[in-house]
């Protein structure tokens, strides 16, 4: 039992110790992929082989083999056309998602702090949550047109719900005695927001941002598919029209890869910013 104190002293200096190993935070690259990596690689390999076999036997014009798809993906990465499309699509993604965060986070905090507002807001949040968003695309096109604006709006509408709902939950989870403590030291309402509510809600806000990114990418592609534009969705439609299946699949691979990358980035940021909360709250890890 005397080891407990020596451990504390020795922390940082010595790295060898006996007994159960303290759970350690893996370094960033490993954390991004997680400890599931071997299993994920395995399932991916099975999937790739099955795809290859199926496409070789039964495939045709509409179903490329795995290797064809990989080839097409690399070929696509070398074209200016793809990067042009990426640029246009991501413009909508970045602006739209930024709007969702800039509006969603304060809105969520306000809803969390003033519960009375709940009655007014709840129904709209639910609408945003459950309505098939594709249904509002024709509406948007009629009112805003085919340009950047309507794509930006759609991305924002798609992703803002996650940000608002999670920020609101985060604020609710903040210990009320911290607010009382801040008030006892003469904190103004503004200081309570910036020093207590925002940092306290940050873990949940980051979760909302991560979930929001996923929805933002969905929104980005969907609107382009339905609106016929020059961007990634446009590429998909074009390759489909030309029956160039490998290129079509390659485009989709690139979109999926981008989404995974963004979500991993968000998760990484979440871990970096909110280490303190690991011990204190158990949150969903969807």
């Amino acid at each position: 039992m005397t080891t407990a104190t020596t451990h504390r002293r020795a922390r940082g200096a010595a790295t060898t110790r006996t007994g159960p190993v303290e759970a350690r935070r893996p370094c960033p690259p490993r954390r991004l992929l997680g400890a599931n990596l071997p299993y994920q690689l395995l399932t991916f390999a099975v999937f790739a082989v099955a795809w290859e076999a199926y496409a070789t036997v039964w495939g045709g014009l509409l179903l490329p083999t795995f290797t064809e798809t990989v080839g097409a993906t690399f070929q696509l990465l070398g074209t200016a056309e793809l990067w042009q499309a990426m640029y246009v699509s991501n413009q909508a993604l970045v602006i739209g998602f930024a709007i969702a965060v800039v509006i969603g986070v304060p809105l969520g905090i306000v809803l969390g702090r003033f519960r009375a507002l709940e009655r007014f807001a709840d129904v709209y949040l639910n609408i945003l949550l459950v309505t098939p968003m594709a249904a509002i695309i024709p509406l948007l096109m009629m009112s805003v047109g085919f340009g950047l604006a309507s794509r930006v709006i759609l991305v924002a509408v798609f992703s803002i719900v996650m940000v608002v709902v999670n920020s609101r939950t985060g604020v609710r989870q903040v210990d009320p005695s911290l607010i009382e403590m801040a008030r006892s030291f003469g904190a103004t309402e503004r200081q309570i927001w910036t020093r207590i509510l925002f940092p306290g809600a940050l873990p949940a806000i980051m979760t909302g941002i991560r979930l929001g990114v996923g929805r933002a990418v969905t929104g980005m592609v969907l609107v382009e598919l339905l609106m016929v534009s020059a961007a990634l969705g446009g590429l998909i439609l074009e390759y489909r029209g030309l029956f160039r299946a490998p290129m079509l699949y390659g485009t989709i691979v690139i979109i999926v890869a981008e989404a995974l990358l963004l979500i991993s980035l968000a998760r990484w940021g979440e871990h970096r910013l909110t280490r303190w909360s690991k011990a204190t709250t158990a949150r969903s890890t969807r």
């Binding site: 005695s177 009382e180 008030r183 006892s184 030291f185 306290g200």
Partner: protein, 264 residues
């Protein structure tokens, strides 16, 4: 000096009923006095302290600090919380400096003053740790340092040692005594423990419940400074006598309430 005059406070309960938490509370706390408040659970101790802190409104009466009426929290008062109320995302240093930051003290001075108090409470090595990495006793040391950092003349403590283990509690009591002997400030200290009330206080305020009022104020004529030999003090006749008296009175209060409850 703290003056509480005819203080009355009622809460609207969740069922819509009115709970008279405090009624006709009159109390004067002298400068540099260490006042302890003792009473059964739910008798309004926290309510009284929060009213003095300016954190809650009340229905009747007045509270004055050095002659001026309490309208809200003020720079001469600071509070120590039972559940510590530390910011889990901030380091020990940031937590201790928090009160200073709220009061607009500049960064360099803030850090300097916070560091000095962290030393006072013996947490020098832990400056960069977060509360989650500290034991309960250490967390409350942070809470005390944070309250002292703003250099209050009145320190309000709501069962500050209620959530720490017995041994740590004794250490903290001794430390609080020596801090108080050195800094000289007015302390209102709420506790459930008769021993703690006697050990620390110049006077013990006994409160009774439903409605919450002051039933008696018991002076504690034990010599000061007490921090140097707490053990001897606890064996002294006077100490034993006063704690026994307090327990008698408290037991009466509990007994008065028991038949009433059983009858319902």
């Amino acid at each position: 000096m703290i003056e509480v005059r005819g203080l009355g406070k009622s809460y609207i309960g969740q069922d819509g009923g009115v709970v008279q938490a405090l009624q006709d509370v009159d109390l004067t706390v002298a400068d540099n006095e260490f006042l302890t408040v003792l009473g059964p659970s739910g008798c309004g101790k926290t309510t009284l302290l929060k009213a003095i802190a300016g954190l809650i409104p009340w229905n009747e009466g007045d509270i004055f600090i050095d002659g001026s009426p309490v309208r809200g929290p003020g720079p001469e008062r600071s509070m120590v919380f039972q559940n510590f109320a530390l910011l889990p995302w901030a380091t020990v240093l940031e937590n201790v400096a928090f009160g200073l930051q709220m009061r607009g003290v500049g960064k360099t001075e803030r850090i300097e003053r916070a560091r000095a108090l962290i030393e006072t409470v013996g947490l020098g090595e832990f400056e960069t740790k977060r509360p989650g990495e500290l034991s309960g006793g250490m967390q409350q040391r942070v809470g005390i340092a944070r309250a002292l950092a703003v250099q209050p003349s009145v320190l309000l403590m709501d069962e500050p040692f209620g959530a720490v283990d017995e041994q740590t509690r004794r250490l903290l009591q001794e430390e609080l005594l020596s801090i108080w002997e050195e800094h000289r400030l007015t302390v209102v200290f709420i506790t459930h423990s008769m021993e703690e009330a006697v050990l620390l206080g110049d006077r013990v305020v006994l409160m009774s419940a439903r409605p919450g009022r002051i039933s008696e104020i018991v002076p504690v004529p034990l010599t000061r400074p007490r921090s140097s030999d707490v053990g001897a003090l606890e064996r002294s006749g006077k100490y034993v006598e006063i704690t026994a008296y307090l327990w008698d009175r408290l037991r009466d209060m509990h007994e008065e309430r028991r038949p009433a409850k059983a009858g319902r």
